[in-house]
Amino acid sequence: MELELRGITKRFPGVIANDAVDLVVAPGEVHGLLGENGAGKSTLMNVLYGLYRADEGEIIIDGTPLQLDDPGDAIDAGIGMVHQHFMLVPVFTVAENIVLGVEHTRGLGRLDRARASQEVAELAERSGLPVDPDALVEELPVGIQQRVEILKALYRDARLLILDEPTAVLTPQEADDLFDAIRAFTTEGRSVIFISHKLREHRAIADRISVLRRGRIVGTADPREASEQDLANLMVGRPVELTVHKPPAEPTDSVLEVQGLRVEDAVGTPVVQDLDLQIRRGEIVAIAGVEGNGQTPLVAALTGLREVADGTVTIAGREVVGATRKQILRDGTGHVPEDRARDGLVADFSVAENLVLNLWDAEPYARRGTLQFGAINAHARELVGAYDIRTPSVGTSAGSLSGGNQQKLVVAREFARPIDLLVASQPTRGVDVGSIEYIHSQLVAKRDEGTAVLLVSSELDEVLALADRVAVMYHGRLVGPFDTPISKEAVGRMMAGADPAEVLGAAATSPTTTTTPPDDPATADGSSPGAPA
């Protein structure tokens, strides 16, 4: 389908989310929409999908201007959307989810399950997206659930599919499968709008890329011509550095010692098991892995947020098991939590209050049970300057800051005190490129100060850019750590559960002997059945 957005403007109180956006999507095209968080990508797509009404502008589909008041109108117009967070009923089967809302019924409103199942099977076959129509959605891996979402759009005869950050939850291999599916989808003149802030993916799949910055289209690029650097500069609005400058690590004595760690969920099923890990001062050990493989409970156990079922954990010789979270933090552990909004800060507290959130009753910020606002504000002014937190004042509520600056606030709080161990979970999630650049350089600076750094990230690029050693978490177990450099393909395959011996070759079976990684990534890639993008 041919889609044209003409002069779309959408205002929220105090913000212009979209400012006269023009966008043309040709039939059969994969149109990449690139932009930082808060650039207005999701708003624009919500306007197109009928969730928001534009204040100004027109939506023209195949030459006809249309009024889209709700998602029903958009679906009727042939627009389908796969949201970042899936809109599926977990206890329903694949077929039930797909036909939900447009289901066929027999007499007395009984659902025609057999017909639904058969139709879905045919659709899956035809579109090259194999899926078992009778499987329960909650039992499917995330990649397949996403496939169900795409099939749902296809079942409603979508001719334009909007994919909102579709790769965020996928392994690199699953992402490649998704790209194949996208290519298959566009063969019959159907179009795709692909939203992502990952430059590499745009270059891999998009036919044309529009870059959105602060609500405006600032450029359209051909992915075959534009380099990642160009796109990044365009997206951020200034030259950015994509690579991390990092001198070789000079690790000294050991800080974090984990032996035989086991963490269980509420019903006693292990979510982390047999985990050994050692991190020394002056090195960054990164844990890669698809989310949900035990990274979150691991970090929670190491930082005293969760009970340890078995094993020992010491930080600079101090026993962690049995200590309170407060003791662990005060004794010298910094923690940048993965969910900033939930665990990192209190949005309604001021910047100054958030900067002492974990030191609220310590001198000099409190004396005899009374908060010392003079000291708190002076501390805040110092950190706001030192960590380049962009805020009108230290009294501004933290929730008003942009995502990147909120994260800088958390980083400042955790980095500014003297610590032995720094645990950073997804430190750049939902953060703009400019802030990512800064947080990365701070992580390296902290390492060079002699702090042991544990980085947990599902962004493989980030892991490989920062880590001195890389470990992979899969189904609650840790593989590695392996010395860097290590090929991206190898880590990617271990994230999907491949045996490290097979991936890295016989010479590199044991973590202690992986001093020489495969020089030529191609040898490691050789055994992979699917060619990497």
Binding site: V218, Q229, L305, N358, D361, G369, T370
Partner: protein, 446 residues
């Protein structure tokens, strides 16, 4: 530390020449770093202006200004106005002359409107005169406001910790019972000992009665709304039983009414030479307690924890705070305030315990705290306002025959309007630019 992140020019991209060529087109739209920083700060300032939040450290003046200009307070006041308007309709339609005039509305519409206007204006005028129309009326307003301020604080403190204390009524009863018991069973003590002792007994009893739902919530997760409602029933029924036992009951009476509190345990009147003015020193106690609570909630480290737990319990936990302990503290302190309210009524006004002596003062505390938006100063102000409404309501009934229940109806309507701020905004077409839509705008940009 900040110096090492300055981008060192534009490093050649991975695809050298190609990048240079594209770089020129991109250059037109590139901003410099300072410009970007300024834009980010401006955007944050705009969002902050919308949210109108004030920090813990804000001075009285800043709080006052924020209270006057914040949309939240405007919405609260409009909720009050909306409740009065609906109250006006109720007065009008319950008036016989108005209903008669409505019978021939189309023949003489003026009659109906005139009758309605007369009914409403005379009722509300009586309400106003009855509450602030003279020294006696003002005295009564403050007498009624004293326990309301305290039960308001009993709801407001837990509210700041994210808890909804419906149990102020029961805590009020517990406080009043023990204060009364100490007040009449100990004799021969000087007032300097007896009165503080009885008051502290009320605080302790109320605090203990608030501690129960707090510890239940912290240890077992029992929802405080459910447990405090049930504890209210227990307190009301057990107090009724106790008052009829020989421990409490006056020996010369058979009906359930307790012995009288000794003179040494009664709050002295503030203006003893004017017999009509019942306002007494318990008002000063309420003010002092409000100041202590203000320090606790807005200035102390415990208050920092309390607010953090109330606004984001996970972040509080992640920062090393103990939400369980904070919940218990908030409920205990809240209960103690309600207990003090019970003591103030028994020791300052009624001087003996009767069945149902709480008379819904604990429940009115919910209205007071919500009208005060959980702020300490706001709660004190709201306590006086609701006190005036209740006292004025009595005068309204006496003078115009409008039922006293109307004051309660207005109070209930206030809660409804405050609970549904969207409704008030829709009625008055206020640009919805406070918290709720701020979130939408933030989420929308992502």
């Amino acid at each position: 530390m900040s110096d090492d992140h300055e981008p060192e020019g534009n490093p050649p991209g991975p695809e050298g020449d190609d990048a240079d060529e594209r770089g020129r087109t991109a250059g037109d739209v590139l901003l410099d770093d300072e410009e970007l920083a300024r834009a980010e700060i401006e955007a944050a300032a705009e969002r902050a202006a919308d949210a109108k939040s004030i920090g813990l450290e804000a001075s009285f003046g800043e709080r006052f200004i924020a209270a006057i200009t914040g949309t939240g307070v405007i919405v609260t006041l409009l909720a009050f106005v909306s409740a009065l308007v609906i109250g006006a309709f109720i007065i009008a339609f319950s008036e016989d002359s108005v209903r008669e005039a409505l019978g021939y509305l189309f023949a003489q519409p003026g009659d109906a409107f005139r009758a309605a206007w007369d009914a409403v204006s005379s009722a509300y005028l009586a309400l106003l005169q009855g509450s602030v129309g003279g020294a006696t009326q003002l005295s009564e307003t403050f007498v009624t406001a004293t326990p309301l301020i305290l039960t308001g604080l009993a709801v407001a403190v837990p509210l700041r910790a994210g808890l909804f204390n419906i149990g102020a009524e029961g805590q009020f009863v517990a406080g009043g019972m023990l204060a009364g018991l100490i007040g009449f069973s100990l004799t021969g003590l000087p007032m300097a000992v007896h009165l503080p002792l009885a008051l502290v007994a009320g605080l302790l009893a109320g605090g203990l009665y608030g501690w129960i739902p707090g510890i239940l919530k912290a240890r077992t997760g029992a929802h405080e709304v459910i447990s405090t409602i049930m504890l209210n029933n227990i307190a009301l029924l057990v107090s009724g039983y106790l008052i009829s036992t020989t421990l409490f009951r006056r020996p010369d009476r058979t009906d359930p009414i307790s012995k009288s509190v000794e003179a040494s345990a009664r709050f002295p009147r503030l203006i003893p030479w004017e017999p009509g003015l019942r306002v007494n020193t318990s008002l000063l106690v309420a003010i002092v307690l409000a100041i202590v609570i203000f320090w606790l909630v807005e200035r102390s480290t415990r208050g920092f924890e309390l607010n953090a737990v109330g606004l984001n319990a996970s972040a509080a936990t992640a920062a090393g705070m103990n939400p369980g302990r904070t919940i218990v503290l908030a409920m205990t302190v809240g209960g103690a305030m309600a207990g003090a309210g019970g003591a103030a009524v028994i020791l300052g006004l009624q001087h003996r315990l009767t069945i149902g002596f709480s008379a819904g003062i604990g429940f009115s505390g919910i209205t007071v705290a919500l009208l005060g938006r959980g702020r300490i100063g706001g709660t004190v102000a709201a306590g006086v306002l609701i006190g005036a409404l209740q006292v004025g309501g009595r005068n309204m009934q006496a003078q115009t025959g409008t039922s006293l229940e109307l004051a309660l109806v207005i109070q209930a309507l206030i809660i409804v309007f405050i609970a549904a701020p969207g409704l008030v905004r829709a009625i008055f077409r206020i640009k919805a630019d406070d918290l709720a839509t701020g979130q939408v705008a933030k989420g929308g940009g992502a």
